[in-house]
């Protein structure tokens, strides 16, 4: 099967990939995914978000080196409603990543075989309760 001197049969055919946008985004694709796939994708998104937050947090804490005025100026922004909502988002990220991480650790070491869905729903219940409690506390005084 030749065309323009190329042996088409010898060529590797195209490969379809899942994923939104350019590969290698294949892990992030909500289409045709089951719960496990969603759990993994959100775990990865929260993980990356938390890595970003780690360095952002270190940068913010560096304001303390500038003394009381610098830090208290920051506190004025940090106690606004928008910031407190971001704090709740942070708590969601921590809860999700932490509880799903426990699930992955238990399953991924073969300690709790065959319970991945049950663990996911148990984590969801615990996480929702904790998030509501945290959110009420953080936003309650705002």
């Amino acid at each position: 099967m030749n065309r323009d001197g190329r042996d088409l049969r010898a060529e590797r055919g195209p490969v379809l990939r899942k994923g939104v946008g350019v590969s290698p985004s294949g892990w992030f694709d909500p289409r045709g995914r089951t719960i496990g796939g969603w759990a993994f994708a959100v775990n990865r998104i929260t993980g990356l978000g938390l890595v970003f937050y780690l360095y952002l947090h270190l940068a913010v804490l560096s304001l303390l080196l500038g003394g009381a005025d610098a830090w208290n100026d920051f506190l004025r922004i940090a106690t606004t409603s928008v910031f407190l909502l971001l704090d709740v988002l942070l708590v969601f990220g921590l809860l999700y990543h932490g509880l799903n991480g426990v699930r992955v650790a238990l399953i991924g070491t073969g300690l709790v075989p065959g319970r991945e869905r049950a663990l996911f729903w148990a984590g969801t219940v615990i996480g929702t309760i904790a998030l509501i409690a945290a959110g009420l506390h953080i936003l309650g005084d705002a």
Binding site: P24, W27, R44, G47, L48, L50, V51, L54, Y55, L58, L61, S62, L64, L65, G67, A68, W71, N72, L75, A78, T79, F83, L84, D87, V91, L94, G98, G101, V102, V104, A105, G108, T109, A134, H137, I138, D141, A142
Partner: protein
């Protein structure tokens, strides 16, 4: 006829490095183990910094931060927390980067880069916490 004993050809340096550079079960254990430890440390940190002080969001003022970090137990826990969270974060980042289909040489470079980033992070964090503790 004399029997000539031959040894198999020595693998190339690159092949030997590939052979030596195998992922260890330890990396997975470190990732999972640090994650489990972080459950406790993150909870302590979040409660201490959002749920203890009576203020909006539970956030501490400058003076309250200095008082907080001056406590030797708190100082130790926060330093340990920084170390564990950096390890966990960068191992997780390593997973994401390795999923990009890197060859062995690229993986070694990623590892070297993450080691440097991790050491710098922990060093800066210790400097930050130490400076604040010294001001108390």
């Amino acid at each position: 006829m004399a029997v000539v004993e031959t040894r198999p050809p020595r693998p190339s340096r690159r092949a030997r490095e590939r052979e030596r550079y195998q992922p260890s079960v330890r990396v997975w254990q470190l990732l999972a183990g640090s994650g489990i430890v972080l459950l406790v440390l993150v909870s302590v940190h979040m409660v201490a910094n959002h749920f203890v002080v009576e203020s909006i969001g539970g956030l501490r003022t400058y003076e309250q931060v200095l008082d907080y970090i001056a406590d030797p137990l708190i100082f130790t826990i926060e330093c340990f927390f920084l170390l564990v969270v950096t390890v966990h974060a960068l191992l997780g980042l390593r997973n994401v980067l390795f999923d990009l289909g890197l060859d062995a040489r690229a993986r070694r470079r990623v590892d070297a880069g993450l080691w440097l980033l991790g050491i710098a992070t922990v060093a800066y964090g210790f400097y930050l916490v130490g400076t604040l503790a010294s001001r108390a």
